[in-house]
């Protein structure tokens, strides 16, 4: 627990200095604030930009952040030193993961404020965001673990991130894509956020998210067994 807190604190210290990751954290909340107040088109669904960018935030920010942090630590040998200092791999991953989850949830609170969600809606929205962020963290951890360098991590992350963050948006315009996207957790999260006022969760939706997370976890286990952390 002590090591996990130390890693969490170290990550917080680095937040302002790691511009690549910092931009990921603030980009979508800022975009949402600007777009939500700047663009008001008649007939546009309520909270259109909040829902759209919240989904993209889930598919992009945790995934890129955790991949970038793990890959950088691997490339610069800091992770190897940590492992040699008796830090357990799970302590490291929980430290970094909890930090990203924490910062992403602050972004989620911004979405909540901009969307003017009331108490019950706000709680459900934050729970949905937590589930989406966790799924993305698992995928990102798997990519970061199997990448030896930051360059390699980026080349894998970009297409994966594009699938998860853009599919929900593209499914708005194309029914075929919508049918396929249904099996992706980010689409399920997007559907839930869009139905927030009148949320009706069916078992299949939950099952799809759970299966997505299990697949991501399996990928992570395979990547960890094959490549290790150091």
């Amino acid at each position: 627990m002590g090591n996990m807190i130390a890693i969490f604190k170290k990550q917080v210290k680095e937040t302002w200095k790691n511009k690549t990751v910092f931009i990921q954290f603030i980009m979508f909340p800022i975009l949402t604030v600007i777009m939500n107040y700047a663009i008001q088109i008649e007939g546009m669904p309520k909270n259109f930009f909040v829902n759209l960018f919240a989904t993209m935030y889930i598919g992009m920010t945790p995934l890129i952040s955790i991949t970038a942090i793990i890959a950088e630590e691997k490339e610069k040998n800091t992770l190897r030193v940590l492992m040699m200092s008796n830090v357990k791999p799970y302590e490291y991953l929980l430290g970094v993961g909890s930090y990203i989850w924490f910062v992403c949830m602050m972004g989620a609170v911004v979405f909540c404020i901009v969307g003017e969600y009331q108490s019950k809606e706000a709680v459900i929205f934050l729970i949905i965001m937590t589930i989406g962020i966790l799924a993305s963290l698992l995928i990102g951890a798997a990519i970061g673990t199997c990448s030896k360098t930051q360059m390699m991590a980026t080349s894998i992350t970009v297409p994966v991130m594009m699938i998860f963050s853009f599919l929900p948006m593209l499914s708005l315009f194309n029914s075929t894509i919508s049918k396929i996207a249904r099996f992706v957790y980010s689409e399920q999260v997007s559907i839930m956020i869009n139905q927030l006022e009148n949320l009706h969760i069916c078992f299949t939706d939950i099952l799809i998210i759970i299966i997505n997370m299990l697949i991501a976890f399996s990928f992570f286990v395979i990547a960890y067994k094959k490549c290790g952390l150091s």
Binding site: G2, I5, A6, K9, T78, N86
Partner: protein, 292 residues
């Protein structure tokens, strides 16, 4: 009875059917500086990984502070400090923040940090980001991180590689200071002069085999095949004599006439010994890394 900090017996290790370490055996006494010498690709870093429990050997046995290296736990890790070849420092954080982070990881008091920084000459740079430090300063910081835990063993992977002589000397002084405190130091290097001046014992590692082991002076004497004395006279003439009783008379005469500028024995350096044993110099191997 000698207390050994490290015992390695018949250790072998392979990567993808390529044998990196081949039945190596040696011991490191507690409180000594031990040098593992060898070119790049000789298996030095693999050996450090095995000894620090990061890798399990395919066969053989290794023991660190009385514990099998395959079973190292929190207690043993608290006694080990590691400095690897390319720093492993958080470059965006300051010098102080780097040590503060590791103080948390090692569960040691942060109040030690100013004294540690003073001892390595980085106190004035404590608020500077590691990114802005010179290579020598990064090396010193990396070293400080390795011993801030009051360790019993320090593993140093090429601690002075690429440094200027002054910084190298400063790092040597830090290591000697640690040795005086009773710390066992296990260092890898391909700098023969470093090994000769610092190490109590050395092992020459080549392609996974230990080809020589002992005190640096003993190894040099062992391979002193010429066994001659080289005398440079003040008039510029070089004289070579057999190193034996017969030379005594000639030397006496030169001394009486105040003719001697320098006297050297023909003992080889560790580098010459390495070349003799392998047919190639230590620095040459770097050029052929991809073939090793």
């Amino acid at each position: 009875m000698i207390d050994y900090a490290i015992i390695v017996k018949d250790m072998s290790h392979e990567f993808s059917k390529k044998r990196v370490l081949n039945k190596i055996t040696f011991q490191v006494e507690q409180g000594e500086i031990f040098g593992l010498l060898g070119p790049s690709g000789a298996g030095k870093t693999t050996l450090i990984k095995i000894l620090t429990g990061q890798l399990h050997q395919n066969s053989g046995y290794s023991q660190l502070l009385g514990t099998d290296t395959n079973c190292l736990g929190a207690k043993e890790y608290k006694q080990i400090g590691v400095m690897i070849d390319n720093f492993g420092l958080y470059e965006r954080l300051s010098v102080y923040s780097n040590l503060a982070f590791y103080a948390d990881i090692y569960h040691v008091s942060k109040s030690k940090i100013p004294d540690i920084l003073k001892s390595i000459g980085l106190y004035d740079a404590k608020n500077i980001a590691v990114l802005k430090l010179s290579k020598g300063m990064k090396n010193r910081l990396s070293l400080a991180r390795a011993f801030m835990n009051d360790v019993k063993i320090l593993f140093l992977d090429e601690p002075t590689s690429g440094l200027d002589p002054v910084t190298t000397r400063e790092i040597h002084d830090i290591l000697i200071e640690q040795k005086k405190k009773g710390v066992t130091i296990f260092l890898t290097t391909h700098n023969m002069f470093e090994a000769e001046s610092l190490c109590d014992h050395v092992a020459l590692l080549n392609q996974g085999n230990i080809i020589e082991f002992g005190k640096p002076a003993d190894i040099c004497r062992k391979y002193n095949h010429l066994n001659r004395l080289q005398i440079m006279l003040k008039n510029g003439v070089n004289v070579e004599l057999e190193n034996g009783s017969k030379a005594a008379l000639s030397i006496k005469e030169y001394l009486e006439q105040d003719m001697i500028e320098t006297i050297h024995s023909t003992e080889p350096t560790l580098e010459s010994v390495f070349i003799e044993l392998t047919g190639r110099g230590l620095n040459e191997y770097g050029k052929y890394d991809c073939y090793i």
